[in-house]
């Protein structure tokens, strides 16, 4: 079984913040920046998801490049 590169575990962070954070975010009964805090929390998590996936994507690309063999394995697959 291949080991999962450590940086890929970052992907679970936004998901955990949504699933695990909502019970806490829901206790804030105030408007923050004009929005209900729960809504703002979820919007923040959505933005974080995008940023996290971008980071993982670039780290994966870097790892693939330093692994050397071929610069872009996906293309090799597509060509088959």
């Amino acid at each position: 079984m291949r080991r999962v590169p450590l940086h890929r575990w970052l992907a679970v962070v936004p998901g955990l913040l949504i699933l695990g954070g909502v019970p806490f975010a829901n206790r804030v009964h105030r408007l923050v920046l004009g929005l209900p805090f729960l809504l703002l929390w979820i919007v923040g998590c959505v933005l974080l998801t995008s940023a996290t996936m971008a980071l993982i994507g670039s780290l994966d690309a870097k790892a693939a490049r330093s692994a050397g063999a071929s610069p872009d394995p996906p293309d090799r697959d597509a060509a088959r």
């Binding site: 890929r8 992907a11 679970v12 936004p14 998901g15 949504i18 699933l19 909502v22 019970p23 829901n26 206790r27 804030v28 009964h29 408007l31 920046l33 004009g34 929005l35 209900p36 729960l38 809504l39 979820i42 919007v43 998590c45 959505v46 933005l47 998801t49 995008s50 996290t52 996936m53 971008a54 993982i56 994507g57 994966d60 872009d72 996906p74 293309d75 697959d77 597509a78 088959r80």
Partner: protein, 493 residues
Amino acid sequence: MNPALLIIALFLAFAFLLGLLARRGRTMTLEQWAVGGRGFGALLVFLLMAGEIYTTFTFLGGSGWAYGRGAPAFYILGYGAIAYAISYFLLPVIWRYATRHHLHSQPDFFVSKYKSPGLGVLVSLVSVAALVPYLVLQLKGLGIIISEMSYGTLSVAAAVWISVTALVVYVVISGVHGSAWTAILKDIMILVVAVGLGLYLPWHYYGGFGPMFAAIDHAKPGFLTLPAKGMSVSWFVSTVLLNALGFYMWPHGFASAYTARSEDVFRKNAVVMPLYQLVLLFVFFTGFAAILQVPGLAGAQGDLSLLRISKLAFPPPVVGLIGAAGLLTALVPGSMILLTAATILSKNVYRPLVRGTSEQTVGRLARGLVPVVALAAVCFTLSGGEALVPLLLLGYNLVTQLFPALVLSLPERPLATRIGSMAGIVTGEAIVAWSSLSGTTLAKLLPTWPSVITDLNIGIVAMTLNFAVLLAVSAVTRERVPAQAIEEPAAAT
């Protein structure tokens, strides 16, 4: 005929015309409601993709739930982000396998992985069962739009019959060569309308988002947070999780993994798609704006809130344009869902069961099944008083039961057996169907248990049991695998 109804009738005619013109055009399937790299400019592509987020579910259902339920509606924004994060890891694996084995549809994947045509038929039936509420939802949305645009001259039932006729005619006209231009028109119109309404209405009626939410909070304390019971935190978290896992189990979502040119597409989507989700905010804003302006829409009537506040704020011709945008958001996905359901029944259910079915027969049967599936959907539409959001929640409960069998099939050698997968799926579906048909909830079954448990989405409970049964049955049926593995090559030679 009033101006609003006239305008949507014109748009319907225009959609038919585009469908006719597109007959010889490119093949469009459910997974390609709109663009995706057709050589447009980057900005236009961005706008089109953002517009794609909107179906009747989000447009009328999302605003309806913000209006009627408040905070629980936010779940719609939450699950997509998690699903896209999962997609980064899941879709490349599916893509590589599907490309290597030349797979076309979602059931093919299960057939190939588990070497079981029977499992393929089961998966197909589950997919179609889940597509039905999705189709009912579009029909219901169409019905709402047409009856609202008539300013009371058409009953909802009459509007539903008009809608289904329009849908079937549209499918028959455009066929598998669905009109890409209709989809593009839809994406642009709905984006302009949804964002326009979401910005204009709170500003017009309240002077901004802050004052609007403050007014709602004052009028309905607690409406903007999850309640302690019912659609509580526990419901919210389990629903977000269930929907995130089910996101790519839909036959169209799953097959979209097949069409990618390379794995890079998934990497980019995981970054960009969550951002598109944020356009849902505007739909919520519209629903919230309606709360104090058009009060009194109870239960499923909340789905009318977007159109009702539009009628209050704008003259009939503008309302007609809003309705036309809504019409297209129901028509385009609705036609694709209808076509997909009919195709699955014909290709992945009928063909494996009746040996030696020709390609022509399959095609003819698929076309013949279109009105049959549509009529079944009409029956459900007219008989059920459900709001739009619960319909999709039911669809997700059904379709997510495929997740355990799928995820355990991903390693080189599946961790589950054919029989185990079938047993798991049947268990999950049986629980969902039973709870949905009998109206049984966990709260009713276990009245003394804490609401943290009884508020859980029944789909997640079903999926847990599904997983358990799957693993148990697989463990029991596992020992036969080595024997089969030895036999199989012998049988092949």
